[in-house]
Structure formats: structure tokens, C-alpha cells
């Protein structure tokens, strides 16, 4: 099978610090893959390298814009917005919602990249059809993800768990084939984490996605991941199925020997 994402020898140095070294990961359609590792291991940096926030010091990133069956293209050095338009969407470790906007408006902004109408067509009302379609889709998405009740609330007034959910909903509004989640369960209690696990699983099925996820909650990771990559000090120290990872000596050492912030 063709992968939908591949990184080849991706390396990122910040001054003398090698945040990510020789990262080689592959994602296949409809997988849920997790990246785990202690704090500062380079997980978020890896996300930033894949999504175009950073340009790798070395190495290349390939992505299949069409999703399953699409041809891999080199996206190294492409801008973040261009990569999102190819079908890759993400959430952030520290929630980054549009804080002056309502829940509904956050979703609408997520759809802006698909707008065909130019500025004047949009302002004059010539493109009213497209705007109506956007609004209809936003409502549909909110309904589907259980956010209809808070549709017109300011996004920052939502409880933490719902803000995380909204950030995922906003990413889905861009119509991605690959979804990257940076610590979606951070700050959640066990009950909320269980709910989120089910939520991610449902979303993946409903939207026909491939998911790459950074997570610390081991229950969640072991429960829904098909495969896991383990990072420590920027290096990939292990890769495999949840069962393989659980019995891997180096992983146990990294987690028990290093600082376990999970």
C-alpha cells in the first residue's frame, strides 16, 4: 500500500540543539499513529516540520494530497497554509482558537480556504450562495460533533474539554485527509479522556481520515493507535504496534529512567 505521509531523514537544529534528528516515519491510509516520548523529545517540533511551520535543516517531507491512492509529492519548504490546502490539518498543544470569535465563526474561518468567490463578489453579495453553503456546512459540522448547543458562545467561554473539541472541529472544517493532533487529551481528567478516545475514533471513521497524534495518556495511546513511534532527545528510539512498544526495553528505560511527565 502507498503511504499518505513520509518523512525522510528529517532533522531540525535550533542553534546547537538538535530538536529532531533523522526522523523517518510513514503513515498509511486510515491508520491512527501515535508519537510518544518525554517532554522536550521533539514531538511538537516534528509536527511543525510536517505542517510547514518550520523548514527542516535536513531531510524531506512527502505527502499525498488526494489522501488514499494519491501520489506522494515533496512538500518540504512549502508554507503552512499551502500544506493545509493540500488536505493536512492540525491542532495545537496550547489551544489556539480565534479568541474574539464565536464557536460558529471559528468553524466558518476553517472553511475560508475553500472559498472561490473573490473579495468583491463576497462583499457585494454576488457570492451569497457560497456563503450560505458555508454556513450550512458549519451547522452540520457542529451538529455532528455535538457543539450545536454552544454555537453562538464566545469560544474562550467554553470549558476546556469543549475548546479542545472545537479545535478538532475547526481542523475538520478545512476538509483534511490527514489530521494531526498535538496532545488532544492534555489537561483532561480520566472520564474526559475516555470520551475523547471515542470521539477521535468516531471522527476518523466518519471523515475517512488518517490520524497522527502526539499523546501522553498511555491508556488512550494503547487503546486507539495502530502503530506508535517513540521519540527521545529528538531520536526515534522505537517504532511498532502498541504491544511491541509496551515490551520494548529502550522505551521502558526512556520512560522510567528519564523524567516521566506523562
Amino acid at each position: 500500500m502507498q503511504p499518505v505521509l513520509r518523512t525522510e531523514h528529517v532533522t531540525m537544529r535550533f542553534g546547537g540543539v538538535m530538536a529532531v534528528g533523522d526522523l523517518n516515519i510513514e503513515l498509511f491510509p486510515h491508520e491512527i499513529v501515535a508519537i510518544i516520548g518525554p517532554n522536550g523529545a521533539g514531538k511538537t517540533t516534528a509536527f511543525n516540520l510536517i505542517t510547514g511551520v518550520y523548514v527542516p535543516t535536513e531531510g524531506k517531507v512527502f505527502f499525498a494530497p488526494g489522501g488514499e491512492g494519491g501520489k506522494l509529492v515533496d512538500i518540504t519548504g512549502k508554507k503552512a497554509d499551502a500544506i493545509t490546502r493540500m488536505g493536512m490539518a492540525r491542532t495545537f498543544q496550547n489551544i489556539r482558537l480565534f479568541k474574539s470569535q464565536t464557536v460558529y465563526e471559528n468553524i466558518l474561518i476553517g472553511q475560508h480556504l475553500h472559498v472561490k468567490a473573490g473579495l468583491f463578489a463576497s462583499v457585494s453579495g454576488i457570492a451569497r450562495k457560497e456563503e450560505q453553503e458555508m454556513r450550512r456546512r458549519a451547522d452540520e459540522l457542529l451538529e455532528l460533533l455535538g457543539l450545536s448547543r454552544v454555537r453562538d458562545e464566545l469560544c474562550t467561554s467554553l470549558p476546556y474539554g469543549l475548546q479542545r473539541r472545537l479545535e478538532i472541529a475547526r481542523a475538520l472544517a478545512t476538509n483534511p485527509t490527514l489530521l494531526l493532533l498535538d496532545e488532544p487529551a492534555a489537561g483532561m481528567n480520566p472520564q474526559e479522556t475516555v470520551e475523547l478516545t471515542a470521539f477521535i475514533h468516531d471522527v476518523k471513521e466518519q471523515f475517512n481520515l488518517t490520524v497522527l497524534m502526539i499523546e501522553h495518556h498511555m491508556d488512550l495511546v494503547m487503546d486507539i493507535s495502530d502503530r506508535i513511534y517513540v521519540l527521545d532527545f529528538g531520536q526515534t528510539i522505537a517504532a511498532g504496534t502498541p504491544a511491541e512498544i509496551q515490551n520494548n526495553d529502550r522505551v521502558i528505560e526512556a520512560y522510567l529512567g528519564g523524567n516521566t511527565d506523562a
Binding site: 508554507k79 490546502r85 495545537f92 489556539r96 474574539s100 472553511q111 475560508h112 473579495l119 458555508m134
Partner: protein, 370 residues
Amino acid sequence: MKNEIKGAREKREFVLSVISLLLMAALVAMAQFDLLPIVGKYEKQVLNLCAIYTILGLSMNLVNGFTGLFSLGQAGFMAIGAYTTSLLIMAPETKDRVFYLEPIHPFVGALQAPFWVALLLSGLLAAVVAFFIGFPVLRLRGDYLAIATLGFAEIIRIIFLNTQTVTNGSMGIKAIPPTANLFWCFGAAALMVLFMLRLIHSTYGRAFKAIRDDEIAAEAMGINLFRHKMYAFILSAFMAGVGGGLMASVVSAITPNLFRFTLAYDILLIVVLGGMGSITGTVVAAFVITIAKEWLRWLDAGFTAGPLKVPEIPGLRMVVFSVLLMCIILFYRQGFFGSKEFSWKGLAALPKNLGIKIRRLFSRDKKEAA
């Protein structure tokens, strides 16, 4: 049920707004035809400036308030508009008379256009210049952008100062036809308000606000930052250009020194007082500031307050305004409206809210004293 109540409320807001707008339009028309005894020639001039500053305030609010870019280049775009309009609406003979030191370039001297075409071209020319300036400066962030835009505004002014055969250099242009009356100024301002309202509620307006709220998240949503900043910058320059054109016709004489970068602070004062990201706030503040500035002219002329004798100090007025700007930024950062818009419901609730605010102020004092 809930939706019905909401619908009824929206309808009431709409009806009240339409009625008051019609009322205002009628008042403007009466003022123009000298049917209002309190509005003489001088008052008309002040009202014209109010409308023009509304346009300039909106122009700056679009970039600074809605898109979150710290741009201070307004004066440059206004200058482009002011000179374009002046040269297009003046009769060739008048231009020959004004350019007595060094004759006007024959091509520019022969150019002529109706007022509305001149205003449109003023806006378009400012927009074109903004497009080219935008390439280098819109890649900058925060303070750097402010400095770069200020710099470009100064460059435009210096160019105008030195292109004698087109701008008449430091002597400026006089005898600009006073075509801009209340209809023109209020008409243009109304169009700009309408455009802004529609823009901000369109998908592009939402994208601008997304960039203001969080650039990284906006980019992650597939929004091309540079392109959208450019849209805002160009539209803002267009408005400033039109505002400059109207201004030239209202004040009838312009020199490059009229467009020093300090002009940006006057406009910034309006935007901040009205509320960054509030269209109605800008409109209200433009009127308040412009009228206050005229009213405070007695400060410059010297005055006696009881035993205190203040001599004539030109510019004292502006000192007062600078202090005002500082006070707003320090203590009243939200301005009149914050990023909200005027609503009749809000107006009705104003006495109650003010009461709550004042009571809170006093109760806090008591607590601190205790």
C-alpha cells in the same frame, strides 16, 4: 421560540437604525441647503471634516483594528489622494496660475476629470502604491511594520516636495475647487461604512480577524497571510486616498507638510477612542474628536482662567490631544465600543450599565480604604 424572540429583536434594531439613518440624511440635506439655522458656513466645514475623518478612521481600523497590523502610513496615501483629486478637478488656467514659479508639466496641466472620477482615481492610485509598498513591508511584524509604513509615508511626502512640476513643491496647491460639500462627504462616508460592515461580515472579514487573533492558527487554517494582509492594506489605502481627495477639496489648499506622519496619530486617536475593531465606534469617535478639536481652538489662542493667564501657545490643543491619547491607552483601552458595534439595546441598557460601573468603582474604593 427563542429564534422568534431573536428575530423580533433584530428587526427592531434594523427598523430603529433605518429610521435614524433617514433622519440623519434629512438633517444633512437640510444643512446643505442652509435650512438649519445653527449650521453656518463654519459648522458645515467642521461637519465635512467629521465625515472625512470617519473615512480615514475606518481606513486605519481595517488594518490596525480588524487585521491586527500596526500600520501608520495613512498620511502618505492621503497625500496621493489629495494631489490626484486637486490636479484633476482644477481648471487648466487655474493650475497655470498656481504653478507660477515653475510651470506645470503640460500633461498634468491638461488633465481634467469630474469630481467622482477624481475621487475614484485618488483611491485607486493610493491602492496601487500600497500594493507595491506592501511587498516589502507586509512581511514585517509589529513595531517593524509601523516604522516601515511611517517611513514610506515620509518618502511619499518628500517625493511630493521635490516634484515641482507636478506638485508645485513646498508651495503646494491653492485654489482647489470646493466641490466637496456635505452630500459628497457624507455620501462617501456612508458608502465606506456600508462597505466596511459588509466586508467585516463576509468570509474575508472573518479571515482578517482570524489573522489578528492568531497568525499561526490562521495559517494552519489554510489562510494565506500575506495575501490577506495585502487585501486589507490595499483597501485601507483606497479609503485613505478617497479621504485625502475629499480633504483637499474641503480645505482648498494643500502642501506636502499637511501630510506629515503626525497625521497618523490624529487618526489613531479616533480609532483607539472608538474602539479597535468597531466600525460604529470609529464613526462616533471621528465626530467627537473632530468637533472637540475645533471647539478647543480657544486653547491655542490663549485664555484666562481666574487668576491664571495663559498666553497664546500655538499647538497647546495638540498637547491636550496627545495627553488624551495616552490616557485612553493607559486607562480606557477598550475605547467607546471595544470591538463591539453600536446597538439600540446597548444604548437602552447604557444608564443601567453605567450605574453598575460607577457603583463598582465606589465599592472598590471602600474596600481599598478598609
